[in-house]
Symmetry: C2
Subunit: 401 residues, 2 copies
């Protein structure tokens, strides 16, 4: 490697990071993360939301997953003998939430996203879900994934505002999983953070509602999953609760320093006057532009198949099409002790070598069947996958008709 290949601004970033952590990535940092990274995260949030952010309210983590787990654990811990904590989770959901609730013995309150309305989040559905769980738990938190995983929708500001008002009314902490905030493909859509919407409500809600927002370097245009970088910003968390959380984080010492550095590069990208700006912007735009094309291609291809319906992928990296399965397929699957969509995905994998994930792993309205497919492979591969799927689906219908 020629050192000249590394741009000056990249070297300065590395130097600044190293200066702030004793000159080596081999050291422990503060449990909440290296200070300059938390400052850069605060600056990033400030620029994104036009709102101040305090580095003291930000902690860095091994990917967003670790941060989500820490917050869920904090919320799920109760006195012996008290009722279980209730955590409201969208269905379909990213399984981190159901798995973590099971781990911490929290009571999961499922609320259904409205597939017929672009996977929107309806307040009536939230109220209904809360009513149903009465007495079984103490509802404590509401998880929202925006843009959605596996559902790919982007929530409007109105929806977010209503969700926040609902949470405030019921005294719920809001967990905003915003890891796909860079993955927006619709030209007339813009990512609005839960924090921004919260401040715009004003009054007591703005000053009192407790919000934890999560971000990662594994998604977006970055996709640096293996480096395990993430952060969480806490809004309106009481000082003593925050101290308790930070104390609990200190048991794991700190998150990966290289993950922290990666997060820093994400929140503090090259600026127009810096030498790596052009190549950075070129790569970022091309990745996002390709994802956008693949989002359109995938939705269009899926909707052209018999018995498929798929909402547009407005954000994130997945399509979650609904599939009508022949009655015979459903019966045979059940006789084999399998979910019908699981059998469908298994046969597709076995016959074409393509792995898609059955909807039953994410949750879905009973009696409906889905799968999740990512749009990450290249356009050429995605086209091939869509051809395979068409072939497979046609033969599947014939086989089970």
């Amino acid at each position: 490697m020629d050192t000249n290949l590394v741009q000056d601004d990249a070297k300065l970033r590395a130097r600044r990071f190293l200066d702030s952590c004793g000159g080596s990535v081999g050291v422990y940092s503060q449990s909440t993360g290296v200070e300059v990274v938390r400052e850069d995260v605060a600056q990033y949030i400030k620029q994104r939301d036009q709102l101040s952010a305090n580095p003291q309210n930000i902690f860095l983590s091994n990917g967003a997953s670790e941060a989500v787990k820490s917050i869920l654990q904090l919320i799920s811990t109760g006195e012996d003998g008290s009722k279980r904590s209730g955590i409201m989770v969208p269905i379909p959901q990213y399984p981190l939430y159901s798995a973590t609730n099971a781990e911490y013995n929290a009571y999961q309150i499922d609320y259904y996203l409205d597939e017929s309305n672009g996977w929107d989040l309806s307040i009536e559905q939230l109220e209904e879900a809360l009513k149903k769980c009465d007495d079984k738990c103490i509802p404590r938190a509401l998880v929202v994934i925006n843009p959605g995983n596996p559902t790919g929708q982007l929530l409007s500001k109105d929806t977010i505002t209503n969700v926040l008002k609902f949470a405030y009314k019921h005294n719920l902490v809001v967990l905003a999983d915003e890891v796909y905030q860079h993955n927006i493909y619709s030209p007339d859509s813009r990512f609005i953070s839960f924090k921004r919407a919260l401040y715009d409500i004003g009054g007591r809600i703005s000053n009192e509602l407790q919000l934890a927002s999560f971000m990662s370097c594994s998604k977006g245009y970055m996709g640096e999953c293996g480096l395990r970088g993430g952060y969480c910003e806490l809004v309106n968390f009481p000082e003593d609760v925050q101290q308790q959380l930070y104390k609990s984080l200190s048991a794991r010492l700190c998150s990966s320093l290289l993950g922290q550095l990666t997060m820093d590069v994400v929140v503090n990208p090259p600026k127009p006057h810096e030498s790596s700006y052009n190549s950075f912007m070129k790569e970022k735009s091309s990745v996002l532009e390709e994802l956008k094309q693949k989002a359109e291609l995938t939705t269009k291809s899926l909707n052209s198949l018999q018995g498929f319906s798929c909402n547009p992928i407005t954000g994130a990296m997945y399509a979650f099409p609904r599939i009508d399965l022949p009655r015979k397929a459903i019966e045979i699957a059940k006789s084999k002790g399998m979910q019908p969509d699981f059998m469908y995905c298994l046969e597709f994998l076995e016959e074409y070598g393509v792995c898609v994930v059955p909807g039953s792993g994410f949750g879905q309205v009973p009696g409906t069947w889905h799968f999740r497919i990512t749009i990450l492979p290249s356009i050429e591969e995605m086209k091939l996958v869509m051809d395979y799927l068409k072939e497979f689906h046609t033969s599947f219908l014939t086989k089970y008709s």
Copy 2:
């Protein structure tokens, strides 16, 4: 950077690692870690213990801490309404254990190490501790730190064997924190792993006792804390329990790929025929030789102070001297709501800028006072620190006499 500075064998190691994980450290790996690393860990254990090891029973983690927490969580989870799990923990202990037990609502069963006998672990003490906790919990696990933190002792094979028999008798899972296995300073001592001792017992114990052993790249001669590499080997864990553990690990996706790679370099160091062997061995030996000198220097200096007694540092990286504090100091500390050793350490920090950790943070026999001091700084710094301590201690005794 000139690529020629990187030795060929290092390039081959990097290439082999990358080939096994899709060519990039930016990807997720299996939840338990990249396969070649787990194979190398198995090979390392095999060579260390002269016993076979199965990569399927090894999982990689963000430092040993994450692995310890996973196992404690697995063991502490009970049915609603059932008694709390009892976890036996040495006193003094590394606070990860007390913190994690508090986090998972486990009942901590303290057992005292025998300071008058080089911080040895006595079976009578274990039996007594277990008897005392009767009815308050269901004893499920026994934690042993060897070499000890903060106590610096190395357990003999006989002691380990007796501990294992005790654990088997009481149906306890053994957590062997062996992260300091490379830090042995006494020429007539050798690290014996719990696994090796377990197999040598033979019979049902060898085949049935459940053991989890932890290792890290943050200690030893490496000290690469910030990269967060660690592993855990499970011995005799039932298949279904192990599956449940691996399922729970999958919620956090995987540990840092660069941490995994670092762990790989630790367990698969340069071999005599490889080009980086000489420089590697030179650095390793010099780090360990210096630590040994500092271990001797520190113990000797501490024991020369009035009212100090310190067991030899046989292993790990710390001295844990006992200090007789003047009655007046004890009274004044208590009137300030402080532990006397905390006040001692605070005054040392304030007056000399040296941070040592009060024994009350690790636990100690009531009425005795200690602090933990690391031997990591350079010899010159350690000498200076010892001079400072002598000055401080003399004036402390005068002040409170």
